[in-house]
Symmetry: C2
Subunit: 182 residues, 2 copies
Amino acid sequence: MAVTTPARERTRHEIVRQAMGLFQAKGYNATSLQDIATAAGCSKATVLYHFHGKPAVLAAVLEPAAADLAALIRTVDGLPRAVAQEIAIQQFTDLSVKHRGVVQVVQDILPVIDEIPEISGLITDGMQLSGFLAGSDDKLERDLATLGINGLLGECRHPGERTDEELRTLCDTALRRLLKRA
Amino acid sequence: MAVTTPARERTRHEIVRQAMGLFQAKGYNATSLQDIATAAGCSKATVLYHFHGKPAVLAAVLEPAAADLAALIRTVDGLPRAVAQEIAIQQFTDLSVKHRGVVQVVQDILPVIDEIPEISGLITDGMQLSGFLAGSDDKLERDLATLGINGLLGECRHPGERTDEELRTLCDTALRRLLKRA
DNA sequence: TTGAAACCTGGCCGATCGGTCAGGGAAGCT
DNA sequence: AGCTTCCCTGACCGATCGGCCAGGTTTCAA
């Protein structure tokens, strides 16, 4: 038996891979289905055969990162605040490095995020993450946490100009300086 | 004599005003000239009569903020580093509050910024600002400064949910926590 | 070998994009 | 009144968008 369904999974995976690169380089709105199809070496109709619409392609691109974020939320939910904050900092740093190519894609979507129900869960989780990172109910601390996340999303840009280790240091330093430790 | 050229300036100003609101709400790419024209109460052809293309509308929207940023750069350029850093923090906070509706528009443009030569000066100034805020040539400090700017751009969103004074506190706190003081 | 299922595509659709153009109406000078 | 200049518009353009569909090709179990 084959380890993977040969054709289907290979094509799907290639579409997602190329779409990720294009979303990073040009943004979601500025990337057309034709762009994705050409990059993936198939036709636009094939993209729409595997994914029911452009938002579904976006959801597939974001899915691994969204799953890790959801796992992060489940892990820290219910923990004491100080512990939850520390673990959230560590795991969000890990997540930012692991999915560095993905996270910044979210930035381009923010203004029109409500029109893409496929990824509503990601947003909910992101807002919860702000709360855990803040470590308190203080409005300023929460806003600072959100600011840190937003800044990080943008800083994962320029893939070739920063090593994974440099990015990790940046994330960790930024969050620890920005957030008042509970 | 009239205090303003009646028709021309009034229409131009209304187009810029409405375009700013739409760029904030939906992003630059997702806003069409027809959207702007409808909001401004004129025809799409009128928008293109006053502005030579969609990028020119964007440039007009960003112009006041870009001018203030350029003035900021001129002010701190040549000053000792510690002084330049402190003044940059204060003036950039002022700028973020004063132009809170404008700054976040830049975020939506970042992926395609190279294709809009009308605002290249804004980008140059933004990168210079990172250097002054960092206060040193250390790569990490520079990256943290850029991260702070990016985070701030996103945090100026949601106009009704934060007072000017709250935004000022947020900007000032974020920059002072994030940056190592020289 | 054969038939069904899965995979893929060219061609087409209506909508909308940014942008152009000829010309209509209002305003002001002579 | 006549003429020019400015302001504005409807109609239209080619290009491209996301999406759909009929049908061809490959795969594979029976």
